[in-house]
Symmetry: C2
Subunit: 152 residues, 2 copies
DNA sequence: AACAACTAAATTGTGCACAATTTATTTAAG
DNA sequence: CTTAAATAAATTGTGCACAATTTAGTTGTT
């Protein structure tokens, strides 16, 4: 009886991988960026580079700080990434005249042109997910809530 | 009127960051592993190392292949990580006698002992998430479904 | 004017992720 | 029995993430 109880306790430990939300989140996020890879290969972009380009397709000029706030990353990640986008001639990097500390990122004509090649990607990914729109929206809301609560 | 339509189209483009499930997933996953960091610092583990230890707390012996299937990662990621865990004396790495290709990972006494220090972590994370259990379960199910569909 | 406090990026170093390749071993087929 | 195919790990190289530090420039105070 005591043995049985102990066994039951062990089975329902808090440290069981299969019960961890965070591990599901982590694995799904990896799988997602893996699924993007073949689609983004056509554009010669990584997933994060694609995210940055998406911001710049909406706002053609932005500094590193603003970009970092928008996508929840810091200059340690963004500086080398932006240099790679600059090397591909998708963006320019110039210091602000008013404040020399600020690095201004501006999308180039090539960068703008790339948007057209990207138009089909969101739909391709929705197909790959094989999930209904409402399900995806619910998943997004759960992620957004978690992100907001963890960032407080 | 045509102008208005064009503006509306632009606003509802598929390439708007704020509408992307994947970006929410990606940001939430990063935020999650950031939130684990101070808790795991006490155990001198990274999030992925913690995941691997969690598997080994359940199954004290496992080879690299089995581990990789369980946590959806390959030897390219696992080999260096397991060497680091070996350096910390939390696991041993020995070749199988029956099949010399197979590397067997076995948890050490130190590794087992570390479990006790980890017991409080899942609950700490649940608190940080500030989300109800049902919400977290729904989020987990969404992630699991997405992972399964993307892995097919 | 001088200097402390602050801010924006960049840099440094560690540890993932993963594609692609290589090495070593085992199994299968002729 | 031998050689081709298959398998398990390891290796190599690129690009994130992020903590911690550094560099350079700005603002506020006296």
């Amino acid at each position: 009886m005591a043995k049985q109880l102990k066994a039951k306790e062990s089975e329902s430990s808090n440290l069981m991988l299969d019960k961890q939300v965070c591990f599901s989140l982590y694995s799904a996020s990896n799988a997602m960026s893996r699924a993007y890879r073949p689609l983004l290969k056509e554009l010669d972009l990584t997933y994060l580079q694609y995210i940055v380009m998406m911001v710049l397709w909406e706002h053609s000029t932005m500094n590193v700080k603003e970009l970092g706030i928008k996508i929840h990353l810091d200059s340690g990640t963004l500086t080398p990434l932006l240099k790679r986008l600059e090397a591909k001639e998708l963006v320019t990097r110039t210091r602000s005249q008013e404040d020399e500390r600020v690095m201004i990122i501006h999308i180039t004509a090539d960068g703008v042109a790339l948007k057209q090649k990207a138009e089909a990607i969101p739909n391709s990914m929705m197909c790959k997910s094989k999930m209904a729109l409402e399900e995806l929206i619910a998943l997004k809301q759960g992620c957004d809530r978690l992100l907001a609560n963890l960032s407080e």
